[in-house]
């Protein structure tokens, strides 16, 4: 990923010396339930950060807070020095938050997201899945988008499935399609939300291989996963969460000998199976 600022970067206040992602005191409440209890986390450019923790620890909510799919109750999200804000809504003014929404849409395209349940578009072919964002968000012509989509599909090994409906793809292929769909928009940050959890065990490998390749290419990645082998191998930093807090973090090597009992028992519990 080149660090040369584009014309739009200056306009948006994006700066090359800013970290890829900065989360400041993120809190999230669902009613009275506190899911995120003041999270501070900075991710440098090119860094691969794996977030782990027991279910209900808030790791997915944190990830979804980055692109405002689940907007935090309070706290700040900064993406390359640009504040990511949830658009204001008004019960009376249909134009409220219009500018913020546009800005958020633009930022979201640059923060690719891959979901646990793939969420590929079932009414579109594999190629059209990738093309949609290119045409409707990036503003490419259909021809440019098709060419681009075919390259992205080839990169994830789905060149021969370009015309196929997602219905005939395996889980692993669907997830690779979802990765291609996100990568086509040239994201500078990729968010992975338990992307192998819904896959049959024999299909996990192909998706992890894709992510490994992406990490090696220098992509900034925020990965929520239970795949500890993958985490130890690919992560630059390992963040352990529990009950809405970051319990501890460090390099994968350091996390082999965790300081906290909660981290130790969590690692034991997932290595047990």
């Amino acid at each position: 990923m080149p660090d040369v600022p584009e014309a739009g970067d200056v306009r948006n206040g994006r700066r090359a010396d800013q970290p890829a992602l900065e989360l400041k005191d993120i809190r999230k409440y669902f009613g009275d339930l506190c899911v995120l209890d003041g999270i501070d986390l900075t991710i440098e450019r090119g860094e691969v950060v794996v977030i782990a923790g027991p279910s209900g620890s808030g790791k997915s909510t944190l990830l979804r807070g980055v692109n405002m799919l689940t907007p935090p109750t309070s706290g700040e999200v900064w993406f390359e020095g640009v504040r990511v804000v949830e658009p204001a809504t008004s019960r009376w003014n249909p134009f409220a938050g219009r500018r913020e929404r546009r800005r958020l849409q633009e930022l979201r395209a640059h923060m690719g997201m891959v979901f646990q349940h793939f969420n590929v578009f079932p009414h579109l072919s594999a190629r059209e899945n990738v093309m949609l964002g290119l045409v409707r968000v990036s503003g490419l012509t259909t021809d440019e988008a098709r060419e681009r989509a075919d390259r992205e599909l080839e990169a994830v090994g789905l060149a021969d499935k370009a015309d196929a409906s997602p219905a005939v793809l395996s889980g692993g292929q669907k997830q690779r399609l979802a990765i291609a769909r996100a990568l086509a928009l040239e994201p500078r940050l990729m968010l992975f939300d338990e992307v192998t959890s819904a896959l049959d065990p024999e299909l996990v490998g192909e998706v992890l291989a894709q992510m490994r390749e992406l990490a090696a290419a220098g992509m900034t990645m925020m990965v929520v996963t239970h795949e500890m082998g993958f985490a130890m191998e690919v992560a630059d930093r390992f963040v352990f969460m529990d009950e809405g807090n970051i319990v501890e973090q460090g390099t994968p090597a350091a996390m082999m000998n965790p300081q906290h009992e909660r981290t130790r028992s969590f690692l034991r519990s997932i290595q047990g199976d």
Binding site: R91, F121, H123, L132, R136, A182
Partner: protein, 222 residues
């Protein structure tokens, strides 16, 4: 029981008028269906708005339309419209309007259910690639919602065709209007009403059958 001889000759002699009446029923149902599906979609999109000023009035209109008996609504539109406005409707237009508006309320419910039937993950994926709310609706959600809506929407067509049999009450010369006309002339209601009734049942039944078949096929292709 009085001595009553069935004379099917009355039916065959007037077959052209009866069939024209049946054709009129089908045409009214078809026009009303077009109105219902278009207006229903608009209603649904307005009801999905986060602005109460758009959402609430439409929701009220839908509820009212769904609760008024069609029979009454036909009178209301045909005789009521000239009372409250300069609008004088022909029976045909009044029939299409009344049936179309009632149908729109039902279509709106169908679309609403279909929108809810589109997986939440699809909305999120659309958001995540940076689509606008309009783009999300237009390119991701609606195409999938339409597909979900096909079977209930076709059933609405059957319902509208059945509903169309009421239109003779405002003087549309449909099959039942023709039947009454002829039977009053010859004092022979049984043959004409039996024929008309059986015919419309045959038409709606075969339409319903076709819908069921299509539904099964859609289920198979996923």
């Amino acid at each position: 029981m009085i001595d009553y001889r069935l004379d099917w000759g009355l039916v065959t002699e007037n077959l052209d008028r009866l069939m024209a009446g049946l054709g009129l029923l089908v045409v009214i149902a078809a026009f009303a269906y077009a109105v219902a599906m278009t207006l229903g979609l608009a209603m649904t999109l307005l009801r999905a708005s986060r602005l109460p000023i758009l959402r609430i009035p439409v929701a009220v209109v839908v509820e009212v339309l769904r609760s008024i008996p069609l029979f009454l609504f036909l009178f209301l539109v045909y005789y009521g419209a000239p009372q409250v406005s300069a609008l004088v409707l022909t029976p045909f237009v009044a029939a299409v309007a009344a049936l179309g508006l009632t149908g729109a309320a039902y279509a709106s419910e169908i679309y609403r259910g279909a929108l809810k039937g589109v997986d939440a993950g699809q909305w999120e994926a659309a958001d995540a690639i940076g689509l606008s709310p309009f783009g999300r609706m237009r390119y991701v959600v609606l195409p999938q919602a339409f597909r979900i809506a096909i079977p209930p929407a076709l059933n609405l067509l059957v319902a509208l065709l059945k509903g169309a049999t009421f239109v003779s009450v405002i003087g549309v010369a449909d099959m039942f209007y023709v039947s009454r006309d002829i039977s009053l002339q010859y004092f022979a209601p049984f043959e004409l009403y039996t024929f008309s009734g059986m015919t419309i049942i045959a038409v709606t039944l075969s339409l319903a059958g076709a819908v069921a078949m299509l539904e099964r096929r859609l289920d198979r292709t996923g």
